[in-house]
């Protein structure tokens, strides 16, 4: 899979590497040149006001959005394209799907499959995409649901679960594909306040196990405690990035200070 064309410029061991990433929706430029690097086992939290482009950037990482300019690599591979003879070639659907297999994504509004039980949600992709045997997939699925604290809810449909439980199933579903990178798009923003903790606990556990994570969040406590890096985005650019404690307690930029004074 890896050819020189894919990895050129993506050298090094970064799990995610973005260089001058631009994204435009119609006339609105949402990302105005993002440069970032996420090391393996790193937990990067991304904060910023709504409309700052943080969710869009996350969606670019697994090619749910196509970038308009710049380069984006995951684990050394160009996302969505192949570089050959100095030209970019769009990857066919199958190759994009193969890339996404290694990138887990958790959505703000869960997007569990409502016609499937928790266990069926978790084993669907391993069965259909990886071609795992049914027994093996079920055993692994139960294990994952156990791990997110839902061992007794395997046969429940999503609408019989609380928001926090649904989001934990969604995390288990993403983990079932054994991703090397997990993307979280405001995973607790749609939850009642008392349910936020159970989801953050699961994510904390994942971080402790060494999962590489990019987390778009409004949970400053989580960012401070679990994050290795904190990125503050505003208006399509990275304003400030660094150690979470540093950024949160001693922001260097006016815009960061302004945002933090509103949310803290």
């Amino acid at each position: 899979m890896s050819t020189d064309g894919d990895t050129a410029g993506g050298a090094g061991r970064a799990m995610v590497r973005a260089e001058g990433v631009h994204k435009r929706f119609g006339h609105v430029e949402v990302l105005k040149g993002i440069d970032l690097e996420v090391a393996p086992r790193e937990v990067m939290c991304v904060i910023g006001p709504s409309g700052s482009g943080k969710s869009t950037f996350l969606r670019c990482i697994n090619h749910l959005e196509k970038i308009d300019a710049g380069r984006l690599w995951v684990d050394g591979h160009l996302v969505g394209y192949r570089e050959h003879g100095g030209k970019l070639h769009e990857l066919p659907e199958r190759a994009v799907a193969a890339q996404r297999r290694d990138i887990g994504m958790v959505f703000q509004r869960f997007h569990l499959f409502p016609h499937m039980t928790a266990l069926e949600n978790v084993i669907e992709a391993p069965l259909r995409v990886k071609g795992l045997a049914k027994d093996a997939a079920r055993a692994r699925g139960r294990e994952l649901l156990e791990r997110v604290g839902l061992g007794d809810r395997v046969h429940n449909y999503p609408n019989q679960l609380s928001g926090g439980q649904q989001q934990r199933v969604a995390i288990a579903r993403a983990l079932a594909m054994e991703p090397k990178l997990m993307l979280f798009d405001e995973p607790t923003s749609a939850l009642d306040p008392e349910l936020v903790g159970e989801v953050l606990d699961v994510m904390r556990g994942l971080a402790a196990d060494g999962m590489t994570m990019v987390v778009v969040t409004h949970e400053m406590g989580f960012a401070r405690e679990v994050g290795d890096t904190l990125v503050f985005m505003d208006d399509g650019v990275v304003v400030e990035a660094g150690d979470p404690r540093q950024v949160l307690s001693n922001p260097q930029h006016e815009r960061t200070r302004g945002f933090l004074s509103k949310v803290l």
Binding site: P114, A125, R173
Partner: protein, 318 residues
């Protein structure tokens, strides 16, 4: 009462108010009762109805065979129509503009043509070409062009043999139904939250797996009720097969008895009763199908959950 619990005030006296009167309901009931009585009286006294004759003839052997043909035609036309409809809907939503355009033209054309006109045309396709063959397109012209003689055809069917009766009728109804089903399936697919397909592709599923496993099962909830209506409409539209004609079908048989014996009214009433009964049967089937596909949308317990809960309860009580 208040002496036992002096801290709690006695509950207030229950309200016993005079209910609002509804004279309109009584008037309506009286009017309708009179109308029903008039209707029943007409049914009982008008000799043209010939009830005994109707009962004797509406279950005769050819009529029963006609009912079977009608049901079979309905089922086959709907199965073909649904398959065609799914195919057309998927084509219509394809990012490929040629494929999507072709589906649009198909749907436009077959929705614009009355079924009875289409059926009449299908019945006479035998007059257009005597034989229908499967082979290489434009084979004769191409062979001529390159100086060969002969053709490249593998299978020949006699037009007058295929496009008669049952097959012509089935084809006409199925082709027409495909266009309506395409719109219903498309509406169903588009009713599914786009986040679902997004979540599926984030898991690495391709377009066809996503469609088959994630989107279509959820679209079913929206697709099934109008499909039930389509099935019932199809049952009724089999009576249009008189344009082909399909002589073994229910309405044709009942009418034949009526014209043969000059008992038009009794056999027309028999037709009404037959279609009402068959349609009711289909409505019942639709009810169960809808229940089946609401899985995960109501808050009902599944069998596995019920078993697990009972096990917990038993375990807890010991």
């Amino acid at each position: 009462m208040a002496t036992d619990a002096p801290t709690r005030p006695a509950p207030p006296e229950q309200i016993r108010a005079v209910p609002v009167r509804h004279p309109g309901r009584w008037v309506a009931a009286a009017v309708i009762a009179v109308l029903i009585a008039m209707f029943v009286h007409m049914l009982a006294t008008n000799p043209v109805f010939q009830w005994q004759f109707m009962v004797d003839n509406m279950f005769s052997e050819p009529v029963l065979r006609g009912a079977r043909t009608t049901l079979l035609m309905t089922v086959l036309a709907m199965v073909l129509g649904v398959l065609l409809g799914v195919l057309l809907a998927v084509m219509r939503l394809s990012p490929n503009p040629v494929v999507s355009g072709a589906a649009w033209v198909y749907v436009w054309f077959f929705r614009a043509i009355p079924r009875i006109v289409l059926l009449f045309f299908m019945a006479n396709l035998g007059a257009l070409y005597a034989t229908y063959e499967l082979g290489f397109p434009f084979d004769r012209q191409l062979m001529d062009l390159f100086g060969f003689s002969g053709d490249l055809r593998f299978l020949g069917l006699n037009g007058n043999q295929i496009f008669t009766g049952f097959t012509a009728g089935l084809l006409g109804l199925a082709l027409s139904e495909g266009a309506y089903m395409a719109e219903i399936v498309r509406a169903g697919i588009q009713s599914v939250d786009p986040g679902q397909a997004e979540a599926a592709s984030a898991l690495g599923m391709n377009r066809s797996t996503t469609l088959r496993r994630i989107v279509l099962p959820q679209a079913m909830r929206v697709i099934i009720p109008p499909t039930g209506n389509e099935t019932i409409a199809m049952l009724k539209d089999t009576s249009l097969l008189i344009a082909v004609p399909v002589t073994t079908e229910l309405n044709f048989q009942l009418r034949a008895i009526g014209s043969r014996t000059f008992q038009i009214i009794p056999m027309a009433v028999a037709s009404i009763l037959w279609y009402a009964a068959l349609a009711s049967l289909l409505m019942l089937g639709q009810y169960f199908l809808e229940k089946r596909f609401s899985r995960g949308f109501g808050a009902r317990e599944t069998r596995a959950q019920r078993a697990a809960r009972r096990a917990r309860e038993v375990g807890g009580s010991q």
